[in-house]
Symmetry: C2
């Protein structure tokens, strides 16, 4: 087991900052630079693939700043090129330094950003319906598993740039099946029963994967958006597996689907006003969604609107298909979040470096917590601390801090919503952390670190002492240009898996560690292991174990 590493500055970042400083002064520009229609089209696609996630389809800014020409004109093209090349420590990747974009592409992107953005299209119900395909109707699906594998210990592994999800046996580590899904899957969710995985692609395509089939396969798909990040199933008693919802990044929309066929049922526009009393937000994107345990509801983050909506799916069979939505003002910009105590949905308001604890039972705001810089909890991590009781932790993308908060106002009112520790970690760039009741550690990545070594380094934090235990650079990761990302435990909680996220042209691996000793006990490899990112254990995901 490798020992802890120390913080290292990012060479690429320092270079970018120096270049930018040198060039910025003389670059005030008034006329937008020329760009050919072909260049504009290329740049539009690159922007969608690499930039829109943080900066918005309309370039109005969100997790990343506004990129409209009014704001960028005085910075000038060379400055923009430097940033695109080298990244910034707050989370901006070094697209050139990482070899994702060529210098020619970076040069075009800088000119593109100094011109007006294209107007994005809306979508209609008919267009969505045209994309809906049921490959295997529910009545033709098996009534029991068609294989002897332990399907509840299956992992769904996102192969991001391959447009695939790999179903991997959690016991044998064998590849069970490779299924074609949307492009750059952002998340997999399990249905309440655990039988189905739903996936959502960056291209807006939702897929339903049946784990009982042999091999597991996509039984239905639909594309409700041009760009999407979230999907969830209905999980309340009586509604298990019955409905699903997709949250779109563009258009500003959430779409309710039939849970077994993905038939589109209902479109919910999300354009609105900032926190119910602000500017009009045309690009109000849907970020994380979870299914409530307290009612037949999904809890839906409307990112740029700074609102969280409780969407009740229980009455759609009544005349007029009533859809009750409780709109809650939270804060900007809502991104991801997870359950604390199975009751509080703790979400990151990443522009304000806050966490908002939403009470699913009372349907209001329980607390606001000061996180680090750009908190990015993923689903967060839950455990019970001997002194503080139940706690919940998040990582931070922009600062070297894991933030631990006490989350039990009923059982431990004296510490409720107090930040009980700010653990210093060796790098910025965290996206995910995870734990399991059977592990003494919280495992922490630094995948967005501008430093390749940082991006390949994992840390284990002691759940009782809050001390940073071992940190190790994963051997072989940088050799395949990989960053280590996203931790998932197996059903038993005896081991955890971390993806080596490399390039499409080079197979990488998934490292498997002992949940207690942190020893690497296996490495999943093969030609199919390309651009692995998130992975989701069927049992843990269905039951919100994290």
């Amino acid at each position: 087991m490798p020992g802890p590493t120390r913080r290292r500055p990012s060479i690429a970042w320092l270079a970018a900052v120096a270049l930018a400083a040198t060039l910025a002064v003389a670059q005030a520009q008034t006329e937008p630079p020329a760009i050919s229609p072909e260049e504009y089209e290329t740049a539009t696609q690159i922007y969608f693939d690499r930039c829109a996630g943080c900066h918005g389809a309309l370039r109005a800014g969100a997790t990343g700043p506004n990129l409209l020409p009014e704001r960028l004109a005085e910075k000038g093209a060379p400055y923009l090129q430097a940033i695109i090349f080298g990244g910034l420590p707050g989370g901006m990747p070094g697209w050139g330094a990482q070899g994702v974009l060529s210098m020619d592409e970076i040069e075009v992107m800088a000119r593109f950003l100094l011109n007006e953005p294209p107007a994005p299209a809306q979508i209609s119900y008919e267009q969505i319906l045209d994309t809906w395909v049921v490959h295997v109707p529910p009545e033709e699906r098996p009534t029991e598993p068609q294989h002897d594998r332990d399907w509840e210990d299956f992992f769904g592994v996102i192969l991001r740039d391959m447009g695939q999800v790999a179903i991997v046996d959690g016991g044998s580590k064998e590849l069970v099946s490779l299924v074609d899904t949307g492009y750059a899957i952002h998340i997999l969710r399990s249905s309440a029963s655990g039988r189905y995985f739903t996936s959502i692609g960056r291209d807006g395509k939702a897929s339903l994967i049946d784990l009982w089939m042999d091999p597991p396969q996509v039984v239905a798909e639909v594309k409700p958006c041009y760009d999407a990040r979230s999907i969830e199933s209905s999980k309340f008693a009586g509604f298990e597996d019955r409905y699903a919802i997709v949250g779109c990044y563009w258009p500003a929309l959430a779409v309710v689907l039939d849970g077994l066929t993905l038939e589109p049922l209902k479109m919910i526009g999300t354009a609105g006003y900032e926190r119910g009393a602000g500017d009009y937000v045309e690009e109000a994107r849907v970020a994380a969604i979870v299914a409530s345990h307290f009612g037949p509801e999904w809890i839906v983050n409307i990112k740029e609107a700074g609102q969280t909506w409780f969407v009740d799916y229980s009455r759609m069979d009544e005349p007029g298909q009533p859809l009750p939505i409780t709109m809650l003002d939270t804060d900007l910009y809502l991104h991801d979040g997870g359950w604390a105590m199975d009751r509080y949905f703790v979400v990151a308001a990443n522009q304000l470096n806050k966490l908002i604890a939403i009470d699913a039972k009372e349907r209001n705001v329980a607390a606001v917590i000061e996180a680090g810089t750009i908190p990015h909890p993923g689903r967060g991590a839950n455990w019970v601390h001997p002194e503080f009781g139940p706690v919940w932790a998040t990582g931070n993308l922009g600062s070297q801090e894991m933030t631990i908060t006490a989350v039990d106002p009923e059982g431990h009112p004296e510490h409720a919503w107090e930040v009980v520790a700010r653990v210093e970690v060796p790098f910025t760039g965290n996206l995910f952390l995870k734990t399991h009741p059977n592990s003494p550690w919280v495992i922490y990545d630094h995948v967005m670190s501008p430093s390749p070594v940082g991006a390949a380094t994992l840390c284990a934090i002691d759940k009782v002492s809050f001390e940073v235990g071992p940190c190790w650079e994963v051997p072989g990761a940088t050799d395949v240009h990989a960053r280590m990302v996203h931790i998932e435990f197996n059903r038993a909680g005896t081991e955890f898996w971390v993806s080596a996220w490399g390039r499409m042209d080079t197979p990488s691996f998934i490292a498997v560690y002992d949940a207690v000793t942190l020893e690497e006990i296996d490495r999943i490899e093969g030609d199919w292991v390309r651009t692995p990112t998130g992975k989701f254990n069927a049992y843990n995901t269905a039951r919100d174990v994290y």
Copy 2:
């Protein structure tokens, strides 16, 4: 009392149709006609004042058809001029024939419609807050009426083009006060206590009028929209007079206000998808709003989205200001409506010639009813019929029919939601009808009739036999270029008032009739009586008596 009149064709309309038919063939146009910036600005203002109400701020169509150049190009300017001059029987006014627009203005309007429309502006909370004025704070207002008049029998009379509301004593018929409000007030509503009138202008300005002051005056105002049509108070037990809501036509927005100060509290965007499963509707305008008796809710019609929203105002004091909204799919295009049995909000879907009965208790759709052509109920009319039990009636703008529907599924299930009569009336162009428990008649206007005589004619329909009783052309109405519009009863139900809606430059009158004999018993006149339209008795409006 004058005798009934017979249906007369409209000369202006016949002339317009003949002109249009002659010119239409040769008018296919490909290039938009030239229009100067000054002409465009003039036309934009005229369009907003006269056309946007029916055709939409974006000109995408609603109650009136789409007026975008793609659709109009082949019709050509002379055809458009003819229609603008002479009107159409479905509700399009003859703006030239009525002397509202000059031939020069009509010529500019036709060219304007063949060019692309201007992009309308959005609005922010700060902009709304800047318009908010409290003239008399609640703590400085009287705790009891400051005059001896019977303020519950006050009538608020809209002086449409004067930007004023006249408060008139229902007993003495004296003008009590003239208050400055928004422009072209669309409706007045009473607060639950009846003490306050709220008014909403076509220009989006809301005003709060305190009837206890001497004289009654505007105590607060705010302008949440550029264009608006609806306002309502909170009326549920425990929330009387506490909140108000304004429904905007543009931007697509509803705004919750403090009921005593009109402080803007919450903005609710209404842009969305047609009936929850259709095209994106950017211009989803808010039409009629009523306050429910079954919960702390307003029932809000989202016109072009074909949805009706239950907006719950009871939880805004909780952390996160939760705002539960139940979205119901109804139909296109929702316009106005009123209570039947105090339980069913019956609204017109005027593109489909339907009425949708919304059950305020169950919060779903109780029934869909076939009306005449372009139903326009105003608030409708309620009475109990000896055979059919409780019935509810609407007029129709585009056909000579008053539609009467049985509305008591619990007490009279055998007739529930049946159209029990389609009463033939002498003209099209109805906007309002009204009755009172103490009158044997439903009084019916034809204000939008293309015929000046039709527009000046009222009818009384027998509530038991459903026969058209007397119809009479109101003497003197055409002499002051007036159309007779909007019926309101006094508190006792012994008389009703009808406005002679003339021009700004000519005082007109309000005719007062005996509720039983239909004799004209009084005529309210004076220099201040200019462009009177709707009028609202404080008692009847507070208690939804109609």
